[in-house]
C-alpha cells in the first residue's frame, strides 16, 4: 500500500495539539468494550492495536491466550468487540471463537492475522467470527465497527 505523499503534515511534531482528543468525543457516552488477544506479544502489535482502540474511547482489555478469552467470557464478562488472533499456542483462534459463541457471546468478533490466507478466513467465519482482517488494525477498519456498535 503506497502512501500518497503530497504534503504530509507532521502532526507528531507540533507540541500538544488538541486534535487527538476530539476523536473519542462521539463515543464517550457509552464506551464500547473490546477484548484483545495478542499472540506472542512482541508487544509492538498489541500496544499499537490497544492504543488505536483507546484513542477512539474504547475500553480495552488484553489477555494472553485463547483459554483466557474463554475463561473471561465464561465468568460473565461481556464485550462489544473481541479481536482474536489467528495463531494461538494451544486453543487456536477459530476454536476460541467457536467456544465463546457456544457460550452465548454476542459481541462482534474480529479475526486478525499477520498473513492473509483464505482457509484461515473460512475457518474463522465458520466458527462464528464476523470479520477477518490482516494486520495492522487501522482506523478504516475500526471506525465503522465502533459506529456500528454505537447504534
Amino acid at each position: 500500500m503506497g502512501a500518497e505523499v503530497d504534503h504530509i503534515c507532521p502532526t507528531g511534531m507540533s507540541g500538544g495539539s488538541a486534535e487527538g482528543n476530539d476523536k473519542s468525543e462521539g463515543f464517550r457516552l457509552r464506551p464500547p468494550k473490546c477484548l484483545g488477544r495478542p499472540y506472542h506479544n512482541g508487544g509492538v502489535c498489541q500496544i499499537i492495536q490497544t492504543g488505536l482502540l483507546r484513542s477512539y474511547g474504547v475500553e480495552t482489555e488484553v489477555v494472553e491466550t485463547g483459554e483466557a478469552v474463554v475463561e473471561l467470557i465464561a465468568s460473565g464478562a461481556t464485550f462489544n468487540l473481541i479481536i482474536i488472533e489467528m495463531l494461538l499456542p494451544i486453543l487456536n483462534g477459530p476454536e476460541t471463537v467457536r467456544q465463546i459463541r457456544a457460550m452465548g457471546a454476542q459481541g462482534k468478533i474480529l479475526g486478525i492475522t499477520t498473513f492473509f490466507d483464505e482457509r484461515d478466513q473460512q475457518e474463522f467465519l465458520a466458527a462464528g467470527a464476523d470479520e477477518f482482517i490482516e494486520k495492522p488494525l487501522s482506523p478504516e477498519i475500526v471506525i465503522p465497527i465502533i459506529r456500528g456498535l454505537d447504534n
Binding site: M1, G2, A3, V5, I8, P10, T11, G12, M13, G15, G16, S17, G20, N21, H40, G42, G43, V44, C45, I47, I48, Q49, G51, L52, S55, L87, T114, F115, K135, P136, S138, P139
Partner: protein
C-alpha cells in the same frame, strides 16, 4: 532561525522516508496516537521494535541455516511481519512477505534471499529513523 532550518530538515527527512517507501501510511497512525497523554509514544514504540526485531531476525537467520523446516520459522516470520506492518515499515514488511511466500513454496534459496534483503532494509530503516529522532529531540530542546 536555527530552529526553522531544523524544522525544514526534519520535514524533508520525513518526506523522504515516505517518498522512498521506507515508511507507509501506518506510520502516520502512530504519529496520531502520540498526544499529551503519550508524548513519547512514537519513540517508545520504535525503541521497542528495534529491541525485539533483531532477536527475531537472528532466530530466523539461524533457522534458515540449520533447519529449513523448523516450524518455528513460520511463527517468527509471522511475528516479525506483525510488528513491522504495525509500525509502517513498508520495505521490511514486503521482504518478509517474500520470505513467507518462498517458505510456503518450499523455496529455501528464495527464502534466504528475502531474509538477506529484509536485514538490509531493517538496517536502513533503523539508521534513517535514528537520524530522524535525533533531529526531533533537538527541536524539542530549541
Amino acid at each position: 532561525m536555527e530552529s526553522d532550518l531544523l524544522r525544514e530538515q526534519i520535514s524533508n527527512m520525513r518526506q523522504s522516508l515516505f517518498v522512498e517507501e521506507i515508511l507507509e501510511y501506518q506510520f502516520l497512525q502512530l504519529e496520531q496516537l502520540q498526544d499529551n497523554e503519550n508524548p513519547n509514544f512514537l519513540q517508545e514504540i520504535m525503541t521497542l521494535y528495534f529491541r525485539e526485531s533483531p532477536k527475531t531476525i537472528a532466530i530466523i537467520d539461524q533457522a534458515l541455516e540449520e533447519h529449513f523446516n523448523f516450524p518455528g520459522l513460520y511463527k517468527y516470520l509471522h511475528q516479525l511481519k506483525g510488528s513491522s506492518a504495525s509500525i509502517g515499515a513498508n520495505k521490511v514488511t514486503k521482504e518478509i512477505n517474500q520470505a513467507l511466500e518462498c517458505f510456503k513454496e518450499g523455496d529455501i534459496q528464495g527464502c534466504k534471499g528475502a531474509v538477506q534483503r529484509l536485514k538490509q532494509e531493517h538496517n536502513i530503516l533503523r539508521n534513517r529513523l535514528q537520524s530522524y529522532f535525533q533531529l526531533l529531540r533537538q527541536i524539542k530542546i530549541c
